[in-house]
Symmetry: D2
Subunit: 358 residues, 4 copies
Amino acid sequence: MSRLREAHGLVIGEGSPGPTNSIVDVPGVLVGHCTVRAPSGACTGVTAVLPHSGDLYREKVPAAATVINGYGKLTGLPQIGELGTLETPIVLTNTLSVGTAWDAVVTWTLQRFDRADDPIHSINPVIGECNDGRVNDIRARAVAEQHVLDALDGASSTAPEEGCVGAGAGMTAFGWKSGVGSSSRRVVLDEGEGTVGVIALPNLGRSDQLSIKGVPIGDRLPGPFRADPAVAGSIVVVIGTDLPCSPRQLGRLARRAAVGIARVGATCDGTSGEFAMAFTTASPIPQGDRSMLHERRINDVSRGLDDAFAAVIEATEEAILSALFSAKPTVTHSGLECPSLPEDAVLGLLRGDSKATA
Amino acid sequence: MSRLREAHGLVIGEGSPGPTNSIVDVPGVLVGHCTVRAPSGACTGVTAVLPHSGDLYREKVPAAATVINGYGKLTGLPQIGELGTLETPIVLTNTLSVGTAWDAVVTWTLQRFDRADDPIHSINPVIGECNDGRVNDIRARAVAEQHVLDALDGASSTAPEEGCVGAGAGMTAFGWKSGVGSSSRRVVLDEGEGTVGVIALPNLGRSDQLSIKGVPIGDRLPGPFRADPAVAGSIVVVIGTDLPCSPRQLGRLARRAAVGIARVGATCDGTSGEFAMAFTTASPIPQGDRSMLHERRINDVSRGLDDAFAAVIEATEEAILSALFSAKPTVTHSGLECPSLPEDAVLGLLRGDSKATA
Amino acid sequence: MSRLREAHGLVIGEGSPGPTNSIVDVPGVLVGHCTVRAPSGACTGVTAVLPHSGDLYREKVPAAATVINGYGKLTGLPQIGELGTLETPIVLTNTLSVGTAWDAVVTWTLQRFDRADDPIHSINPVIGECNDGRVNDIRARAVAEQHVLDALDGASSTAPEEGCVGAGAGMTAFGWKSGVGSSSRRVVLDEGEGTVGVIALPNLGRSDQLSIKGVPIGDRLPGPFRADPAVAGSIVVVIGTDLPCSPRQLGRLARRAAVGIARVGATCDGTSGEFAMAFTTASPIPQGDRSMLHERRINDVSRGLDDAFAAVIEATEEAILSALFSAKPTVTHSGLECPSLPEDAVLGLLRGDSKATA
Amino acid sequence: MSRLREAHGLVIGEGSPGPTNSIVDVPGVLVGHCTVRAPSGACTGVTAVLPHSGDLYREKVPAAATVINGYGKLTGLPQIGELGTLETPIVLTNTLSVGTAWDAVVTWTLQRFDRADDPIHSINPVIGECNDGRVNDIRARAVAEQHVLDALDGASSTAPEEGCVGAGAGMTAFGWKSGVGSSSRRVVLDEGEGTVGVIALPNLGRSDQLSIKGVPIGDRLPGPFRADPAVAGSIVVVIGTDLPCSPRQLGRLARRAAVGIARVGATCDGTSGEFAMAFTTASPIPQGDRSMLHERRINDVSRGLDDAFAAVIEATEEAILSALFSAKPTVTHSGLECPSLPEDAVLGLLRGDSKATA
C-alpha cells in the first residue's frame, strides 16, 4: 500500500485505488528496477515497465504518447504515432544512458527470437529519461547493458518499490529528493470494471512551487536542496490500463497527465522535459497476423472515458507525491546532502489548513 | 464513365476503378453540385460530399484529415482529430465563402433535428476551399446559403458531373481551366472487396509543371493561361472508402494523397493550400449512444492497407487529371479567356512518348 | 482594475499585473464587445481582440495556437501553423455563430482594401467559440453580421468590460454564471520590460471542481446551477504579448495556458473544447513585402521565457476567476436562474483557509 | 562530380547544383563514412553529417524534422520540435545499431567538454536508420562505438563518397543495390545566393515502381533482386542549407522531401519508415548565451522560399538516383547476389523515351 494514503492519511482525489495502488493493479503489468550505486558517485538506475509477461514483440499493445514539453528524450514516438502500437518494454533511465538502454532492449528482444523461426529485423525500443545529474555523476555513465537486462528480467507483478530505486535513484523534485512513484484508480464502466495505473519519474519543479492537495506549501518548508539551476528538470509518466481504448483514445489519456502534473504546482518550465505515454492491455495486436482485427473500445462520449481521464489525473498526482514521500535523503556525487521531504512539517502545514487530512 | 480513361485511353496506375470511376462507387456516398454563374463575373459554386444518405449527425463516420501545406482553410480539423469522427457533409467552395457554407451546414443539420426531441447545441461543419479568384469575381461573394443548401439537397449517388461545375466552376490548374474531378479504385482484401473513392478540387500548379503518366508535358503545350501570380494555388482531396479503418488509419490514407498530387508534377508551393481528408462508411458511430463500440479494422501490416494506399494515390492522380480533361474554356471575370487543356496536343505528346496510351 | 484583486484582495500568483490588469496592457491591443440579448431568449454576443489598431492584413503578427482538447472549433489553425502569422482580428462567439463571424471578418477586412489597389483574394479569419446553449437560445442563432462588425469597430484600448458581455453573455462555468475575463502580467527581461495579457472565455467545469488559489471550494458552495449535462463545456484563451517571440515560442506560451486552466480545478473533460492561442505585437510582418526579415526573439534558455510562461499561467488563472467574479446572475432562455458565484461564501471559505486573502 | 549528371548526362530538374553537387556545397557541412564489412556477413556502416566543424553543442543550429511515414526511428525529434535546434551531428546507421550510435554521439560530445568548465548533463543525439537486413546480417549488430567515432572524426568537407559506403553499405531500393547519395542546388535570393544540399539513404521501393525523370522503367528492367518481402523499406533524407530559415521554415523544407521521394516512383508503403530533417548553418545559437537573439530569415511569401522548396525536391530526387547509380553489386549475408542498377538498360530505356538524356 502506498504510504502516502496509508501512513499519512493523504487521500488524493475522489477515485478508488486498486489493491496495491500502483500500476501493477492493471492485470498483467510488470515493473522491474535495477539501482546502480557506487562510491565513485554513481547514483542512478533503470526502471522497466512491461505491459504483459508474454512476448511483447509478438503481442504488441495499443499505445500512444504525448510531448508536454519536448526538452528531453523519449525514443520510439514516430512508430507509436504511426502504428499505434508498443512492441517492447518501456525503460526509464538517466539522460545519458538512453543509448545503452536502447541497445539492451534490442538484446533482450532478440534473445526471444530464434533466427530461423522469425527473422526479426526491426525493433522499436521506447526509452524515457530524466536528468539525475544533480545527484548522480551522470557523466560517468554508470548504467551498463546488464543493469537494463536485470531490470527487465526482474520485472514482476508485485507492487513496485517506490522512491530511490531504479531510475528513481537520482531524482530530485521541488527541492527535495525524489524517486519513482506509482498509483492506480479503478474505473467503472457500464460493461464492467477496469484499472488505470501510473508510474511517474518526477524530477521537476522549484522548491517554492510544491503544492499538495491544493495547498501551496513549497515556500513554507525549511531547508530544501539548493539545486544546480543549470540542470534541467523533467518528468516521465507511464500510464497503463486494461480499458479497451484505441491509440487515439490512449493519446487523450496521456494528455491528461499534464493536469496531474499541474496539480502538484509544477509550471512546465521551458527546460523541463515532460512526456507521458499510455498503453492498454485490452487488445493486443499479434505480430505477423495480417487478418482483419476486431476490437472493442470505450465510446468517446461515454462517462467512462471521462472517468478514465480523472483516473489518470489523480493517479499521476498521487504517483508524483508518492515518489517524494518514499524518497530517502541522499548524498550527491559532489558530497552535498539532498534532503527528503520533511514529512512532519508537510503534514503540519496540511493539518493547519484543516482540509488536508482525512 | 470518366472520359479520361474511356475517351482517351489514358489509364492511370494499375488498379481497377469501380463502376463509375468516381467517389460514389463507395456505397452510400452522395455528391451534389451547385454552380453559381452571373454576368457580373460570378463563376463559382459549391460541391458537397455526403458519406451516406442517412442522418450524418446521428450516424457519424470515422474520419481524419491532413494538412499538406497549410496556406488555406479546412474547418473542423481539431474536432476530427480529437474524436476521429465526421458529423456533417463536407462542403467545398471558394475561399471567401467558407463562412456562408459553414452557416448553411448548420442550417441544414438543424433542420433535421426537432428542438424538443434532441437539443443539439454543437455542430462541426467541415468546409474546404480553393481560391477561384483568377476566374471568379471572388470579392463579390456570390455564393449564398441557398446555393449550399441546393448542393446538399441535390446530392445523389449517381456519378458526379466533373469539370466546371459546383466548386470546380472557377478552378485553374497548371495554366489551364480546371474543375472538379473524381475517380475510384477497388481494393481486394482477404476478407472481401472494398472501394476507395476520391473527389479532388485541383487549383494548383504552374504551366511548366504538368506531368501526365510521368511525362512532363507542361512546358511543351501551347497557349496556357497567364495566371495572376498573386493568386495562390490550392487543392482539396476528399477520400471516401467502405474499408474498415480506424481514424488513425484514415489519416494514413489521407497522407498518401500527397503522392498522387506529386505525380501530376505539382511541387507543393509555399502559397498553395493543400489538404486531404478521408472517411470510412464502414463503422458509423451512433450519436448519443454511449455504450462500448465493437469495430473491425484492417491490420496495419496487411497487404490490404498498402493496396488502399495505392488506391488513394492512383485515384487522386486520376481525379486531378479528370478535372482538367473535363473542364471547358471559360471567360474570367476580367474578360480573359482561360483555355482548357488542349487534348489533341496532350495526346500527341503522350503518344510520342509511346507509353502513354493503352 | 480587476475587482478580483482590488475589491476582494485575491492575489493570484507572484507576478505584477500591468496598469489595467487586462490584455490591453499589451501596447496596441484592442478589445471590443457586442452583447446580444432579446426577450425571445437570446443571451449571447461577440468579443473581438485586435493585436493592433493598424491594418491587420497588411501588418500581420506572429502567432501560434494549441489544441488542448479539440472537441470544439477554432478556425484558421492550419494557416497559422504553416505561416506563423495572424492576419485578422480574433473573434469569439457562440458555437453556432462561427460562420456568421467568419463572414463578418471577411466583410470587415475587404472594406479596408480597394479592389484596384490590392486585389486581396484570401483571408484567414480566426474564430473561436464556446457553447452558451445552457443560457442562450443558441438554435435561434441571434448573432448577425452587424453584431460582429460592431464588436470590431467598437474595439478600443481601454480596459475591457468583464463578465456577461460580448461572447461572455451566455457563459457558465463550475456551476455558476461565467463571462469573459482578462488579466495581465509584466515580464522583465535583461533587455527591457514587456507584458503578457490574457483574455479568457471560460465555459467549463463541474460545480464540485472549482478551486481558488489552490483551495478546492467547489463542493462547499451552496446552490450552483444545475447545468444541462448534455451541453459540453469549453474555454478559449487568447494570449497577447509585446515580447519578441517566434511562432514556435508563441506555441510554447499557448501550451502553458493549460496549466492555468488546471489551476482552477478543471479536468479537461473529453467533451470540453479547450483552445489557446498567442500572438506578439513585437515583429509585424508586412503583407506583400518579400524581402528578408530581421527579427529579434527571446532566447529559449533565458529566464525571460520561463517568466513569460509563468505570466501566461497566472494571467490565465486570474482571467478565468475574474470572469466568474464579474458575472451577474442571469435567467436562461428556458426560464431558469443561473446564479453568480456567491462572493461572500467564497471569501469566507478562503479566509477559513487562512492563506487565501492577502 | 556526381556520375549521374556527368557520366550519364542525366539532368534532374531545372536548378543548378553547387560545385560538388553534394551536401558539402553548403559551406561548413562535413560528411564522414565508416563502412563495416566482415566475412561473417556484416555489410553495414555509419554515415555522419556535421552542420559545421565547430563545437556543435556550443553552437547549435536551427533545425526541424518531419515524419513522412513513421514506421522507423529518428531519435531526438521532440527536442528539435520544442527548441528548433540541433546540437549534435546527425548519424545514420542500420536499424538495430541506433543505440550504439546514440551512445557514441554522447561519448564524442562529452570528449569536447571539460567537466570543470562546463558541466554538460544533457545531449540530444539525432540518429536515423534504415533496415539493411536484406544484405547485412543485421542481428549480428556489427556496428561498434568506434565505428561511429571513426565516421565522426573522419568527417570532411570534400565531396562524400556515394554508393555502398557508410550507412549505405547494406541498402537496397527498387530491387537493386542502393547506398548513400547526395546532391545540391543553388538558390538565388534578392539578397544573395545560398545552397540547399541533400544526403539521402534510400532503402525503399518495389522493383516495378522505379521512375527516372518521370519515365516508369522499373518493370522493364531485367533481373532485379528478389527482396525479402518481410523486410520493411525506409529512407532518411537530411537537408542542409545556408539560407537563413527559422525552424518553422526548415520544417516546410523538410516536408518537400516527400515530393522528391514520390518522383522516383515510391509510394510511401505502410511499412516504410520515411523521415526528413533540415538544418541551416545561417544562424547558430550559442549554448549558454541567454541574451536576445537577432536573426534574419527568408520571407515566407518570397520567391526565394519556393525556390528553396524546389531545390529540396530536385536534390532529393537526384540524391536517391545517385545512390542507385553509385552502388555496386553486393553479395548478401545469405549468399545472394544483389545486383546494381543495369546502367545500360536504364539509359537505353530513357533514350527510347527521347526526352531522358540531355
